[in-house]
Amino acid sequence: MSEAQTMNTTMTPMLDVDNFTLGYTNAEGRLVSVLRDVSLQVAPGEALGLVGESGCGKSTLALAMMAFLRSGSQVQNGTIRFHEQDLFALKPKMLQSLRGGRIGLIPQNAGQSLTPTLKIDAQLYEALKLHSDLPRSQWRQRAIELLQQVRLPAPEAMLERYPHQLSGGQQQRVAVAMALAGQPELLILDEPTTGLDVTTQAHILELLRTLRQELGMAMVFVSHDLGAVARISERIAVMYAGEVIELGSSHQVLLQPTHPYTRALLDAIPRLDAEGLPPSLPGYPPKVGSITQGCAFAGRCPHAQPICSEQDAPLAALSGHQVRCHLAGELKRPASDSKVVQLPVQSSDEPLLMLEQVQISYHRQGLMDALLQRPAPVATVDGIDLQLNKGETLALVGESGSGKSTIMRAISGIQPARNGQIRLKQDDLNLPVEQRSKALKRRVQMIFQNPDASLNPRHTVFEILQQPLKLYFGLNHDACRDKAAELLSLVRLAPHYLDRLPGQLSGGEKQRVAIARCFAGDPDLILCDEVTSALDVSVQAAVLKLLKELQQQRGVTYLFIAHDLAVVKAIADQVAVLYQGRICQVGPVSEVFTGHHHPYTRTLLNAVLEPDPNHQPVIQGDDCSEQYPPARGCAYQRRCPLAEPRCKEQLPPWKTDGGNRIRCHLELDALATLIDRPQMIKAVNA
């Protein structure tokens, strides 16, 4: 890392953010600062990571680096210079050629940033037309080169496709290719891997790493995921409430964090090698403009002294990295294991939910299909056998499209199973939700991924909680209000939240309201659909802890969907790994994570990112998602590095090792030895 530092001091920075303060006029008509006194430099070829919770100004800063301000905002102080030129003094014409040309942007959601009605070639030509001197005749050749550069298979065919025909990872690759069309010196990446599967994310990060080595671009990488930032960045700037509070090499920031906020953020990340739940960070970031003096983090800081809320913290330079804290250098880092929250499991052997040979298909046999005797396509989900005991948590794990949500929809009665048995104790859950008795509906409740979408934006918190209370118990208005306040206290929210609208709550508060709503029915089984993936890490830890505590108090059972294996390890007792709607491996968490692995489980575990610059995910195969499950044999046959001919013909048998069951043709010992060998990474282009 000393290399990166010497580069900083000796070479002139390519991008120089100097005492930059950005303000906007809020609803009350006051000018408040979203970015405050930000100073940082990016040297040519360097990768800088910007991290922090949502709302701390990361994206605003990244967009300001392209001189792009949201309407209503204005520069209050300072400058941003690109090659000695003040970006905000440039003429619009100059800016236009700079953006997308010398400074490229890769947005968060490639699916939304590509025009749905244009083929990939047209979108790439557009970028080439604007930002290269190539004659029209060479565009196609260059477009193919660009697609090869981002490791997309069959680039010629890819040019003829529409964005919706590509998978999420492929769309993101096209977005990268478009950004490369202008041969940028600086690439700004705004959460480029958020919302992608673990495996896809690992692939995209690997691509970005190699591209940086090949093309020598500088990168500014914005992410809330410290694991992703650790893969890409040489230096990391931690932002809080619009300020840079810690800036240093990624080794320093991630391995020897100094600011209490950075430490808390790192501690809140669930890790595969840790036991129990991570400690959460109390409180929420301050609202924009609510800090007049003192350290912005003082209100949440466990070490806060009187001086912290009285005086602005200076940016102290500590052995090569900068920290904005009064107590910088004085704080010792306690051993993080002591902070891990351990909650005992109170499970019983009494089975609550049983799935037997469940098969679900979205296909409906039409008249033409019947006449032409067309065979029905392979069912989306097939052969699911699961048993969930009362008071336990079962996690369903897999990439998107693995049928996790489909199983949940079948249990909740939205998309009833075609074959097989789903039972809640003695009651039949095969019925669609409309035909279930009120008592049965009450006993199965669901929490959704995104509280923004699952709470009606026009209902107050009270109205949201009132609905299940009225539906299941027929309570009158006053009784509902008492009960709703009780439910709020259950999720650690004060009763004055009753009259708020969801738009007035933070993400974590919204999810708490959603949890309160689901407990209103006093359920036995709660279906949790990626409940923490839309939340910040700090909030995620608190929500996971709340769910675990509620489970102990109420004795409820969770069926938990997640793609983050570390979260699963922290919260679940049992885990089922799904691929293409088929179970590959199932068993107690401890045994599945530490014992023998199905090849697919191994792939998932390998792709997990850790907030550690030395950690390297192992990636294998390609990240192209499959459209349909195979008709015969093992579900994972097409991507499995160990696939044999019999895998394509016969359904693999279950191999049992204690509670850990693996569906694979290979013997368990063979699996263990083969998997530990270094993996061959198939080049996608080959």
Binding site: G289, S290, Q467, Q504, G521
Partner: protein, 297 residues
């Protein structure tokens, strides 16, 4: 650092309610405020006309035929010597009452059907929307004339037929607005909870499409006023001697060259009312955050 003014210890002020926010947005639109003032002026005038009118609006006076506007008769008189100011003031009452009730009916049935179709989806939606398309293709004026000729021109017939015909367009718009919310998780949450369809439509969807419905109501009202006046103009609306703008224009159009005021003042009253409704609807749509240019009509 200078711009940060709010003290950390002050309690976070409760954000203004949604409708207050809409009102403050509306107040910032000059055209909207003009429209709203004119609209309120019209409504008050219609409400208070019997007490405000300077003359008896049915009194015929053979000695005062087609008088030009003067001190005694501000708007002049018509071919039967009736005071045009009084008649213009009274002439909106019937039109406004009928069209307001008609709009209410159109928005209620159109809104309910639109939301239900949007929520139910599938084949029911596909087939019924084709029926709606077919109904939209009917030349409504001719059909209206037919209905009125068959049933008679009582007030309630007019309300029902106008309400029915103008509700068809509301179905389309509201269904479109509903489709945006149906795939949201809060609807799915209500379904998994086991709420009835009616509860989902009324409790979950209605509050979200209310904006679109409100703006649509204002637009339909303007159109309906025009339609009602056309009917009166053709002699199928208000029964004489009740004053009505459409009827007044029809009665006096033969004398437009010798007594232009007899046509101009009722026409002016009608058009200012319609324009004011349109301006208000426009500003309301912007204040709420719906852009009328984007709304399917």
């Amino acid at each position: 650092m200078t711009a940060i003014t709010m003290d950390m210890n002050t309690p976070v002020t409760k954000p203004a309610s949604r409708w207050r926010q809409v009102w403050s947005n509306l107040r910032r639109s000059p055209s909207g405020m003009i429209g709203l003032s004119v609209l309120i002026f019209h409504l008050l005038l219609a409400l208070l006309a019997p007490w405000l009118a300077p003359h008896d609006w049915t009194l015929q006076n053979g000695y005062q035929i087609l008088q030009a506007p003067s001190e005694a008769f501000w708007f002049g008189t018509d071919h039967m010597g009736r005071d045009l100011l009084s008649r213009t003031m009274m002439g909106g009452r019937e039109a406004i009452t009928v069209t307001m009730l008609g709009t209410l009916l159109a928005v209620s049935w159109g809104g309910l059907v639109g939301m239900t179709l949007g929520f139910v989806g599938g084949r029911t939606d596909a087939w019924l929307m084709r029926v709606i398309d077919a109904l939209l293709a009917i030349p409504w004026l001719l059909f209206l004339l037919l209905v009125i000729a068959l049933v008679g021109q009582q007030t309630w017939t007019l309300v029902l037929t106008l309400g029915f015909f103008f509700g068809i367009a509301v179905v389309r718009v509201v269904r479109g607005a509903t489709l945006e919310y149906v795939p949201r998780d809060f609807v799915l949450a209500a379904r998994t909870r086991g709420e009835s369809r009616l509860t989902i439509v009324v409790r979950e969807l209605l509050p979200n499409v209310l904006d679109a419905l409100l703006v649509e109501a204002a637009m339909r009202w303007a159109w309906m006023l025009l339609a009602f006046s056309s009917l009166s103009f053709l002699g199928f609306g208000v029964v004489p001697p009740t004053p009505d703008w459409g009827l007044m224009i029809a009665d006096s159009r033969g004398m437009i060259s010798i007594a232009p005021w007899a046509v101009i003042f009722p026409a002016l009253a009608l058009s200012t009312l319609i324009i004011s409704i349109n301006l208000t609807a426009d500003a309301l749509a912007k204040a709420i955050g719906l852009d009328r240019a984007k709304a399917p009509v």
